[in-house]
Structure formats: C-alpha cells, structure tokens
C-alpha cells in the first residue's frame, strides 16, 4: 500500500516535469541559421580611413579600432527585439532567411520582446549580444547605468504621427490648440510635447492630453480628436476599419496626418545597440561589424523585395495579417530609405536633435527623458562605416537613392 502511494507520488512528480518540458520549447521552426563555418573575412580588412564619422558638435562618438577586430566564424549571437515578430524587424529576419548572417560568419538567434522586456536592459545584463531599441529609451537606460552604445541607426526618420479626422482641421501641431490629443505615455509622449512647445502652446492649459490605448478605438469613437499612431502600424489599423457612414474602409482622404518628422521634432527610433564594455574585445567588435553588415544587407534586400520580406515575417509566425504586414514593410522602408549618408550611419544633426528634445522637453509631470546630455561613448559610426564599406565592396546599394515605395492596398482587418 505504501509502496503504491510512493509510486503514485513519483508518477505525479515526473508528470509535472514532463508538462513543464512540454509547455516550454514548442518551437516548430527555430529562428537560428546553421552557420556552416563562414570563412568570409569581414572586419579584418578594415582600414583607418573609415573611422572618421560625420562631424558634428557631439564629437565623433566612441572610437572603435575596427582594424583590430577579428572576423567571426560561426559565432553564436543573440538579438533582442523590442516587440514581437513583425515587419518592423523584417531586415533581421530576412538576413536570417537569406543567409546573410551565415555568410558573415554568424549564427543569429532572434529573441522576441514583450510589454515588460526592455531590450537595452537585457543587452546590458549580458543575456543577449545586440538589441533593437528606440534612441531616447536606450539613452534613458544608459543614464541609469546600462552601458549600451548605438552602432547603427537603422531608422533614419521618426515614424510617429498624430492622426485626426478631416473635420477637426488639424494639419499641424499649432492646430492642437483646444483639442483632445491622445498619447501613449510611458516615454512615447515627448515628440508631442516638443511639437507643442515649438508651436508656442502650453501643454498644461492649451490642449487636453488623454492617455491612449494601443488601439485606435478612441479616435474612431470620437473620444480623442487626434491620436498618436505609428505610420507602419496604428495608422494602417484605422485604414483597415469599416467606416460606418460609408460601409467601406476609412480612406486616407478622411484623415489629416501630422508627422513629427515633418514638424522638425522627430526623435530617432529603431537602432542597433551593442554592449559598450565589450566593444574593446576584438572578437565581439568583429561580431558587431559582421552583424551590422549582414543586418543592413537584410534591409537592402527588403527595400528591393518588400513582398518577399513581408512573407518571411508572416512565415515567422506574426499574428498580423498579410496586407498589414506588407503595409508595415513598405512604411518601414520609407523610414530607412533613401539613406543619403549611407544606411545605418548616424546623422549627427538628427542625433543632436533627439538628445536635445530628450533632455530639454518636459512632460506634464515636469520630467525629461534624460537629465543631462549622454556622454560621447553612447554612439559610434566606426562600426557602421566599416559595414557600409564592406557592403559597397560587395556591390550592395547602401544609399537606395532610387528607392520608390510600393502601393499597398489595405483590406478589412489587414487580412
């Protein structure tokens, strides 16, 4: 009898073990590429002529001696995204899918983000090797002690909009006066505040600021006059919803759009961040050059093959529908291309503007993103310049001056 009980207990315990294992790694398709000993030299061929970053009053950033970096051969690296799989990160998924990372000697695992997983923090903890994050958020984390350095500014333009219906007559930030303005908060509101003060409005008295959900229902129901939206996501969601007055989808003609980039207060968004403390290690800095190079090659591929890249992302298990994904791909391409100074190269003017807004613009609580300007080692163009040079040598178009966005027809629900 007792033996029976003990056996039952043991069975329960082992069952629990099985269940945990079963609930865990269900991955049917892994996001890793099998690196078959990539032998192509990447960083080793560097020269000192590439170290000169675009000049600016922020100085030249962190100096990385790319000539001493060693090219990786099948190195396993992890990339932390800031959100779940979607076309916003298509370049990285394409670089896996098209074997660009493998060619560069890397075996890359892409780790999805979540609501409460700050990528720059995961990077600083050493759990991942590179991370994708918006510049103000990463700099705020840096101020809190995380030694992260921007090694490639993939998105050169801000994708934040303030969307409103035509009848509200909101065509610039100056028209926000007296209106109900939605914002996401949590550090996503600073472009709005910068635009308000640039237009000479007082955020506390001239506008009503409303906390906005991550859907656009507040705008559609009329509770918000102008809602915050990303070009590649929430704006499309409005255009995928049925207009009850017409029975058809909302059309771009129904809406006014204020772009913070056009208002001159755009803050830099998606960038590739590396661990500053490890950049002096030749192996890691070689990985960084190879990673940036292959990632940018992925983005160049997505520029020329928007549909293929949208399909890659859908195949990676994104829940967003196919036309929504293609729309997102196309809008993201517009934020990257054309890249006059070379793809991924940090434009110091945009960097300075971002830093200025982040340290000078107060939200309603009187808080700024940064309490002081970040130190010079918070960014470097040495790695991306080297990557761009290698890509040019490979015949990859790193400027995309002839880039033309495609036309995407949205469907109901983005399906």
């Amino acid at each position: 009898m007792r033996h029976g009980r003990a056996a039952k207990l043991a069975a329960i315990v082992s069952l629990a073990g099985l269940l945990v294992a079963a609930c865990g790694d269900d991955e049917s398709s892994s996001d890793t590429t099998a690196a078959a000993g990539g032998t192509e030299t990447t960083a080793a061929a560097g020269g000192s002529d590439t170290t000169a970053a675009a000049g600016g009053d922020t100085g030249a950033g962190l100096a990385v001696d790319v000539a001493s970096c060693t090219a990786p051969e099948g190195a396993k690296v992890k990339l932390q995204l800031q959100w779940v799989t979607q076309a916003q990160f298509a370049g990285y998924f394409a670089a896996v899918d098209q074997g660009f990372y493998e060619k560069a000697g890397l075996d890359v695992e892409i780790v999805e983000g979540g609501v409460d997983i700050p990528p720059q923090k995961t990077l600083a903890s050493g759990a991942v090797d590179f991370a994708i994050s918006w510049v103000p958020k990463a700099l705020a984390e840096r101020e809190a002690g995380a030694k992260v350095t921007n090694i490639a500014q993939v998105f050169q333009r801000s994708g934040t909009l303030q969307v409103s219906f035509k009848d509200k007559n909101i065509t610039s930030a100056a028209d926000f006066k007296g209106k109900k303005i939605g914002n996401w908060g949590f550090g996503n509101e600073y472009e709005i505040f910068a635009a308000l003060s640039k237009a000479g409005l007082d955020p506390a008295s001239d506008v009503t600021l409303l906390q906005q959900n991550f859907d656009m229902n507040g705008l559609l129901s009329g509770e918000i006059d102008a809602a915050e939206a990303m070009t590649y996501n929430e704006y499309a969601q409005v255009l995928e919803a049925i207009n009850p007055d017409t029975g058809a989808l909302y059309q771009p003609e129904d809406l006014n759009v204020v772009s913070y980039e056009d208002e001159g207060v755009g803050m830099l968004q998606d960038a590739i961040w590396a661990d500053e403390t490890r950049l002096s290690d030749p192996a890691y800095c070689g990985q960084a050059v190879a990673f940036v190079k292959a990632s940018l090659e992925g983005w160049a591929y997505c520029r020329d093959n928007a549909q293929a890249c949208a399909d890659i992302v859908v195949a990676k298990g994104s829940k967003l529908g196919a036309t929504h994904q293609l729309w997102q791909m196309n809008e993201v391409n517009k934020l990257i291309w054309p890249a006059e100074g070379g793809v991924g190269v940090i434009d110091t003017a945009a960097w300075d503007r971002t830093v200025e807004i982040a340290s000078g613009t107060k939200n309603l609580d009187g808080a700024t993103v940064l309490t002081k300007a970040p130190d010079a080692t918070s960014w470097t163009n040495d790695i991306v310049n080297e990557a761009v040079k290698l890509l040019t040598a490979d015949g990859v178009d790193v400027n995309g001056s002839s880039f033309a966005p495609i036309e995407v027809t949205l469907t109901e629900g983005g399906a």
Binding site: K78, D215, N217, G321
Partner: protein
C-alpha cells in the same frame, strides 16, 4: 440503479444545466444592455459611469463566436478556433505544471513549518509579504533575474511565466496544509504517542489525513492562482505560444476587428474552467474514502 445513484445523477444534470443557464443569462444581459444602454456611454457628474454600447465597445455575442470559424490570417490554414484552442492548451500545460509544482512546494513548506516552529515564525511574515507584491511587477522581475543568471534562460520567457504561477499557487496550499496539520485533535495524537510512533509516522498516518479537508479548498485557490499567474505573465512577457500573448495580439487588432479579441478571452476562460475541473477531480480523489460526517 440505486436511489442514491439516481439522486447523484439528477444533481449532476441540474448542475450542468445551471451552468448553461447562467451562461445564457450573462449573454442575454450583455445584449439587453447593448440594446437599451446609451450608445455613447453615460456620464454622471462628468464621470463616465455607463459603458458605451456601440459595436466597437460591446460587440454582439454572435459576432464574437462567428470569429471562431474564420481563418486567423488570410491564406492561413488554421481557423481562429484552432489557434485559440492550441494557445489555451499550451497555457493550460504551463498552468498545470505551475499548479503541481506550487502545490508540492506549499505542502513541503507546511510540513517544515509544522515540524519546526522556528521555521513557522521565520517564514510566515515573508510568505504573507510575498503575496502582496503585484504580479505585474513580479513577472518582469523574475524574468530579469533569470536573464542575469544565464544566457540560455534569457529566451525562456515561458519559464518565468510558470515560476510566477508557482509563486502564486504555493501560498494557499502552504497555509491550508499548515492549518490542517496543526489542528489535529490531541486524543489521537496521544494515542500515536502511546504507540511510540515517530513524528514522521504520525504525520503520514494522522496529520496528513486530518489536513486533507483543509487542502481541498486550498487547491482550488491554487489552481486559479496558477492560471492567473501564467496568463498574466504571458501578456507581460509576450510568451510566444500562450493564450495571454494571443489576447495581446488580438487586442492590437481591436481597431479593425473588436470581436476577435473576445475569442482569446473565451480561450482563457475555458482554460480556467478546465483547471477548475482538474482540481475538482483531485478533490474527489482525496476525499473518496471519507465518511460524509468527517467532511
């Protein structure tokens, strides 16, 4: 069929039909409010009290259920039903693992505290404090602790979700079991003493059986806590295959397709129901040889 069996069967049928009736009642009151409530919502003294009733805020029940048969993404083979079912099953396994591990941990702690009063005094305040920390803070905390310790663990967000489930589930079990172990009547304890039975023997033969009626309700709480812990951290950490993540994803689509979100919510509710059924089953198993008056 004996009278008792017939009686039991009748009770069971009545319970099942009451469940269905309750569900229909909820659905009817939803639709009723939607029909008579203010479309733009009602405000009293400038504060919104009454919910909006338009299709965006309160979709029709049939619209929610009709989403189940549609395919999740165009060109995709799987219907929403299959996707939700799969996600709920995944989360159920995580929650069950958390429930089992949490219960074992809770029983272990209870035995430790019953055996050594020293442990009870030292541990109890911390156990109580542990349950007052908001889950929404804990999920990222547990995850970042894991990520700091190992590169391998950094991509295992599901493990953080299970750990959070364990963290919530062990507490009621520990409290219930401890109570049961400590309230064993003194007469049988003295009898065991006179048999020269050791502490462990007394625990197994007397204290444990005495604790079972306290354990049963504790397990119900633990089951619910495990489900809450797992699904909430799935939302917070974006655990890839879970039903919490599905709520997050469908919530993002709520602009163009408000009813779809409810399919994932139903999935989470179904998961809770199945967990409750499992706990009732365990309850039956534990109480099977007990005379009714002892309960």
């Amino acid at each position: 069929m004996t009278d008792a069996e017939r009686q039991r069967r009748r009770t069971r049928i009545r319970r099942a039909s009451m469940f269905a009736v309750a569900f229909v009642l909820v659905a009817v009151s939803w639709e009723l409010y939607k029909a008579v409530g203010p479309e733009k919502g009602g405000t009293i003294f400038g504060t919104r009290i009454l919910a909006r009733t338009d299709d965006r805020a309160m979709p029709h029940i049939w619209d929610m259920f009709s989403r189940f048969s549609e395919s999740e993404v165009r060109g995709g083979e799987d219907s929403v039903f299959v996707v939700v079912l799969r996600a709920a099953w995944y989360s159920f396994r995580c929650a069950l693992a958390a429930f089992v591990a949490g219960s074992l941990l809770g029983i272990g702690l209870a035995v430790l505290m019953a055996r050594f009063r020293f442990f009870e005094r030292a541990l109890m305040p911390y156990l109580v404090i542990s349950q007052t920390v908001p889950i929404i803070v804990l999920a990222p905390l547990i995850f970042s602790l894991m990520a700091y310790n190992s590169r391998e663990l950094a991509s295992k967000t599901w493990l953080a979700a299970v750990l959070l489930g364990v963290f919530l589930a062990f507490f009621p079990v520990a409290m219930g079991t401890l109570r049961g172990l400590q309230t064993t009547p003194s007469a049988p304890l003295e009898l065991m003493d006179s048999y020269a039975a050791g502490w462990w023997k007394t625990l197994w033969k007397l204290r444990f059986p005495n604790a079972v009626p306290f354990l049963a309700p504790a397990l119900r709480l633990a089951g619910a806590a495990a489900v809450v812990g797992v699904t909430v951290s799935e939302i917070s950490l974006g655990v890839r295959y879970g039903v919490g993540r599905l709520i997050l994803s469908y919530g993002q689509e709520a602009t163009s397709d408000p009813p779809k979100l409810y399919t994932a919510v139903f999935g989470a509710a179904a998961l809770g129901l199945v967990m409750a059924a499992v706990v009732v089953g365990i309850d039956r198993l534990l109480m099977r040889n007990r005379p009714p008056e002892a309960v």
